[in-house]
Homo-oligomer: 196 residues x 2
DNA sequence: GGCATTCTTGACGAGGGTGTCAAAGACGGA
DNA sequence: TCCGTCTTTGACACCCTCGTCAAGAATGCC
């Protein structure tokens, strides 16, 4: 059949995301994406223009999906539990054998060369949004009096984002072992422990 | 002049390391390395065989140089100060405008596809050596009684390695800003704070 | 029914990367 | 002095990747 768009866009981006994730963004070719999505190379060019656009769409899907879950997990008013919940979302994602190891966003971030290109801007935006959500949480916690004295909202937010990135790196470095990731998340949560 | 090796091997690996670091390991071509080192492509193949061998040599140089500095910084018997010193080495490296942003080892790690290749094994080895050095420090600290009660040597070691990786990721994500990195290091050190 | 629109498909050219090789030339030992 | 060894150098073949394009075909509007 020819003439009408045959593929499901949502499924295409989903497949593309997993391909970038598994093979590495820089190493993924249009041929890889065509094979993974079942859509011909020419059709991909017709629909998206170039690979960068496809990568950005994949990043957006990736970021919004897991940021939504992670930020939702910040429900507990006690920072120790909230941070543990936030990091647990990342641990669960890595523990799922259906997912490639590591983290697409982190991987793309480390491949960046200059701050000028569209991908770099998108990565920074997504990191910043997560950081902002965490900062808002810690700000509220401080107002509630549940944030330990020496801890600051902005620095704490950056610390938690960095920890989740570190977990992803260690997950890849240790060939997918999940106990390493759990050790890190557990240690990081302890920073927010308040003696009662 | 032809017939005798003209280049300084140590300088060549140093230049190659910085090229892999700045351009990304996967994106660095033999032509890039030839330009950066001043050694012709053919000579590089003659001396090293292929790009992977050159990358591994670069990784070894990178890892041993900065691991030596970081582990040396674990001098203080008080974990809070020792961890701060360890992380400060990484902060200093990133703050040095003479160095490319981020961390070569972390970047290569995130690019890995399978655990089977030689590069993956080398990356894991280097991470593990750092982890082991930190674990030994924390083991000694526990014996000394300077490690806070809930903290365990192995988990703490993993946490500190992960934090240093997270710092590198955030450094790239934020376009080289150093205050972000400092926030993370300061927060992480607080985990080891002991009220006196 | 006819026609414009839109998507698919396969092929094409350009460019670039890898690894190899033969020729040329310098050094050192016999 | 002569020969074997080793390095440099530039060229070469092969393969892959990108992005484009013209032709073909189905749909839906008029």
């Amino acid at each position: 059949m020819v003439g009408i768009r045959k593929f499901d866009e949502a499924k295409l981006i989903e497949d593309a995301m997993r391909t970038f994730w598994a093979r590495g963004a820089g190493a993924t070719t249009m041929a890889d994406l065509a094979a993974a999505t079942g859509v011909q190379r020419g059709s991909l060019y017709n629909a998206y223009g170039d690979r960068e656009t496809l990568l950005i769409a994949a990043l957006d899907l990736y970021a919004t999906r897991w940021r939504a879950q992670a930020v939702e997990a910040l429900a507990d008013p006690e920072p120790e539990a909230a941070v543990a919940g936030f990091l647990q979302v990342h641990t669960d994602r890595m523990a799922d054998p259906g997912n490639p190891p590591g983290c697409l966003m982190t991987q793309v971030c480390m491949e960046l060369t200059g701050p000028s290109d569209a991908v770099a801007k998108r990565v920074e935006m997504h990191f910043r949004q997560t950081e902002d959500a965490l900062e808002a949480y810690f700000e509220a916690a401080r107002a509630r009096g549940t944030l330990r004295a020496p801890l600051q909202p902005r620095a704490s937010a950056r610390f938690v984002v960095a920890t989740s990135r570190g977990m992803a790196v260690m997950h890849k470095a240790h060939g997918g072992r999940i106990d390493v990731v759990e050790d890190i998340a557990a240690s990081a949560s302890l920073l927010f422990h308040r003696p009662r």
